[in-house]
């Protein structure tokens, strides 16, 4: 088992015929994901990458039985695409798009709560989700992953690849890798995904990669302490970042005294997580402190 995504997931791509959508849909197909179609308004009835194109998500769901949507729609229209996917009954919406206005996301979240309570949103501004050797719905390089017992959850893309790569090199595979994205209002937060990993029998330990800004890591610490037993390894990026400056991710900014590197590390340490200070030692630290049960 795994969380969120598996070999049976039926994926459609919104923004299917655009350059990013085409490129990554092709890579997902090569990885073995079941991409069952795509949506580009006005291109319905045609085919792309040997898959049907639909005008609306509703139609795509009806004709293909899709339950996952992977969104590459440009930022100005991306929140609308999220809502469309939710309204059409999609249960897992993964939004890769970066640069979406914060209030658009606030509205989309509100919309999903009211009109699409079945939907779980991952992202935006994220690399997506992969369950190694089963299905990839995202932009991560598939080949660095390996099936195994470690669940990974992260706010950053390339930092996730770095962690995955180090773990794979140490022979430690991953159950599912989830990039929740670097935006101030993510569809799902650390707590949501930690909860799923804790319940997943195939996940034996979790690596969480956070960054400065916000209080998602502090919330995760409280949740871990109260509700979880599996070992949790954490790395928090941004220790050397000066306060008040935005570091690429809209979420990675320290405002006042909240969301600092120190406050996050302290909260997680106190909750019993194993803190990794050196980014180069994620793989080595997990290998040293964790022995997989099910091989």
């Amino acid at each position: 088992m795994s969380i969120l995504l598996n070999k049976d997931s039926r994926i459609i791509v919104q923004g299917f015929t655009g350059s990013a959508g085409s490129f990554h849909a092709q890579k997902c197909l090569e990885y073995g994901s079941q991409i069952v179609g795509g949506v580009t308004p006005g291109r319905g009835g045609t085919t792309h990458l040997d898959r049907p194109v639909f005008n609306t998500v509703e139609e795509a769901v009806k004709k293909t039985g899709a339950n996952v949507s992977l969104i590459f729609v440009p930022a100005p229209a991306a929140a609308d695409s999220v809502m469309e996917a939710g309204k059409a009954g999609i249960s897992l919406i993964i939004c890769i798009t970066e640069g979406i206005p914060v209030l658009d996301m606030a509205k989309a979240k509100q919309f999903l709560k009211i009109y699409a309570p079945q939907a779980r949103l991952i992202g935006p501004n994220c690399p997506g989700v992969i369950t190694p050797e089963e299905s990839k719905a995202g932009i991560m390089p598939g080949y660095i992953h390996k099936k195994g017992p470690i669940g990974i959850i992260s706010r950053s893309g390339t930092l996730t690849y770095e962690a995955v790569h180090q773990l794979t090199q140490k022979g430690l595979g991953q159950s599912t890798v989830v990039g929740i994205g670097g935006d101030p209002i993510p569809g799902s937060n650390f707590v949501d995904i930690l909860d799923l990993f804790e319940r997943d029998p195939k996940t034996e330990a979790i690596v969480m990669i956070g960054e400065i800004g916000g209080s998602a890591e502090e919330d995760a610490a409280a949740f871990y302490k109260a509700h979880m037993k599996k070992p949790l390894f954490i790395f928090i990026a941004g220790k050397s970042a000066p306060p008040g400056r935005r570091m690429g991710h809209a979420g990675a900014i320290v405002e006042g005294s909240s969301g600092t590197h120190a406050s996050k590390i302290e909260a997680l340490k106190n909750a019993g997580a194993i803190v990794i200070e050196n980014l180069s030692e994620i793989g080595a630290t997990v290998a040293k402190n964790f022995k997989p049960v099910a091989v």
Binding site: P101, M105, G214
Partner: protein, 388 residues
Amino acid sequence: MKLLEYEGKNILREVQVPLPEFGGVIDKPAQINSILKRLKKGPWVLKAQVLAGGRGKAGGVKLAKTPVEARAFAKAMVGMKMATHQTHGQTLKVDQVLIEQGVKIEKEFYFSVAIDRKIGSPVLIASSQGGMEIETLAEDHPEAIIKKPVDPVFGLLPFAARALAFELGIPAEYISSFTKVATALVKLFINKDMSLLEVNPLVLTPKGFVALDAKIVTDDNALFRHEDFASRDDIESSPAEKEAKKHDISYVGLDGNIGCMVNGAGLAMGTMDTIALAGGSPANFLDVGGAANQERVERAFKIILKDPKVKTILVNIFGGIVRCDMIAEGILAALKKMKLKVPLVVRLEGTNSDKGREILDRSGTRLMTASSLWDAAQKSVQAAAGKI
């Protein structure tokens, strides 16, 4: 992007939020004379237009009772260097001073709208104890702070604004004045895609509520639908940061001497941290983005080298979708075009990384390849110190 107080107030004026009588904005002390001629009745308030809170304590807000006093304050304030507790040890030059008529204050309130990441929606924060900073208030009188989530679609409805007014203990005759101002501010926050709209203090005068200050932060992601903000010069960015932004490279200048070029914001931060852990100090944050091709690599080198503090450059690329052999070729092509006078350390990992390293090693170009991020960080720290 942060707006200066007077820019924020211009926006508030458009939606009829009452403000103190406007005198003018000056960048030369002598300009105050014409303002004093127009705005005859004092007292006058002079406010330094810098992007930092805590101006009052740093001498950036002065109340002048006479024209003579006003002229003296203007002379002292225009061009002065200010450090407040929010400037993190740096000083800010006061280029502009806002002059307004003083108002009769009965009571000071605090009012702001911000994004609450935890609940994923805007949140309204209000207090009957305005004037002091919200951080201080939160520490000293947390019970005096009222927090209410704001629906991003409906905004603040009049009934909710009225309920808030009663909760704040606002006298009955001023309830409608408060409701008008509060709903207008929330509407403005939503319509203009702000990340922060803070009015501190929002003061009660005999004529009703007046916004004495305005601190606005806009959401850069929404600039595409707000031309007025998009066309404004971001005064907080350095020329190098602006140049980078034009080419979709995110760059933030820092104090250290190791220039960094990394793909991905998280990895870029992680690389800075690793340099610090190895005993060095990063000169910048730089994310070349996912498609790190030759042109972008070249552009990034140029931006990094604009900083004269840079003693070494560390390139850390995790090739996922981009292949490391392509990146290696890109680096070599960029180096061919420019004379690099500082040592260069390159760490390539991921897709075709062995091939990439081999291309660099065989090129005969003077650069160091690294086997891991830690190795790269240590090598660049040593190189920056002139040890290798």
